[in-house]
């Protein structure tokens, strides 16, 4: 039977390691996704709260989240695999096309020459408040 537990604080059975449930909700990742950005149509290989991946340009992707964030001021981190022995790939926010509550945008650049690059093993994690 499904059940619902309403509680403000969690502790272990010995009464130690107290944590407010607000930290459990607020501190948990609200979305994460792993995908191969080097293929023509990237799809999530595994994810939480990710509906799809949009390949918007070379090195640019959009993680379309299923359940919206409450605002666009959430935090995201990204990573991408070093690109075929070339210099680097760095994931970052897209300044020119800001995130929205349902679309989190990632772009990867070669650190050596700033050129946009598609990357394999692309990943993103989002922390913030759900709507």
């Amino acid at each position: 039977m499904a059940s619902e537990l309403r509680v403000n604080t969690l502790k272990d059975a010995a009464g130690n390691n107290s944590i407010a449930t607000s930290f459990v909700a607020g501190g948990s990742a609200k979305a994460w996704v792993k995908f191969d950005g080097s293929i023509t149509t990237p799809v999530a290989q595994d994810s939480l709260n990710s509906a799809s991946i949009t390949d918007s340009a070379t090195g640019s992707y959009i993680n379309n989240v299923t359940s919206a964030l409450s605002n666009a001021n959430y935090m995201m981190t990204t990573a991408g695999e070093h690109d075929g022995g070339s210099f680097a790939s760095v994931g970052e926010y897209n300044h020119d096309s800001p995130n929205t509550t349902t679309a989190s945008k990632i772009q990867y650049h070669n650190v050596a020459n700033s050129a946009a690059v598609d990357v394999g093993n692309a990943g993103q994690v989002i922390h913030g408040d759900l709507a």
Binding site: M1, A2, S3, L5, R6, V7, N8, T9, L10, K11, D12, A13, A14, G15, T21, V24, A25, G26, S28, A29, K30, W32, V33, K34, Q45, D46, L48, N49, S67, A68, S70, T77, T78, A79, G80, E81, H82, F87, A88, S89, V90, V111, A112, N121, G123, Q124, V125, D129, L130, A131
Partner: protein
């Protein structure tokens, strides 16, 4: 009324590995287990030791700037996410990079570069999200 629950383990009823938590906006839920960080570490590249960590058994030093954290509890598959970074105060160029590859269920390979060359960096950090086995 304030409430306090003392418990050592949380398990879902319908599915043991799935507990819903109501989001901050009170309108949606998120999966507790899937949202939790499954591993993290802070280490010194100069001596290859973990200063502090969660779910890490050890750190393998594969050569200059190349490290493989070894997980205590394995991931369910190789499609988890890993993010890593280094202390900017110890880099010598504006071209720093952490490449993350060779995803395995029990480890992941991190390669730190500064100005194109692999380097051992102190205050190196990484964090993992995904599904535990």
């Amino acid at each position: 009324m304030a409430s306090l629950l003392k418990v050592d383990a949380l398990t879902g009823v319908t599915a043991a590995g799935s507990i819903s938590v109501t989001g901050e906006g009170n309108s949606t839920t998120t999966n507790l287990q899937q949202g939790l960080t499954k591993g993290w570490g802070h280490f010194e590249g100069s001596d290859g030791t973990l200063d502090d960590s969660f779910n890490m058994a050890s750190l393998t030093d594969n050569g200059t700037g190349i490290f493989s954290p070894q997980f205590s509890n394995s991931m369910a598959n190789v499609h988890y996410t890993c993010n890593a970074n280094m202390n900017s105060s110890v880099v010598s160029s504006n071209q720093t990079e952490v490449s993350i590859g060779t995803y395995a269920t029990g480890s992941v390979k991190l390669t730190f570069r500064d100005g194109g060359s692999t380097v051992d960096k102190d205050d190196s950090v990484f964090i993992i999200h995904g599904d535990l086995a």
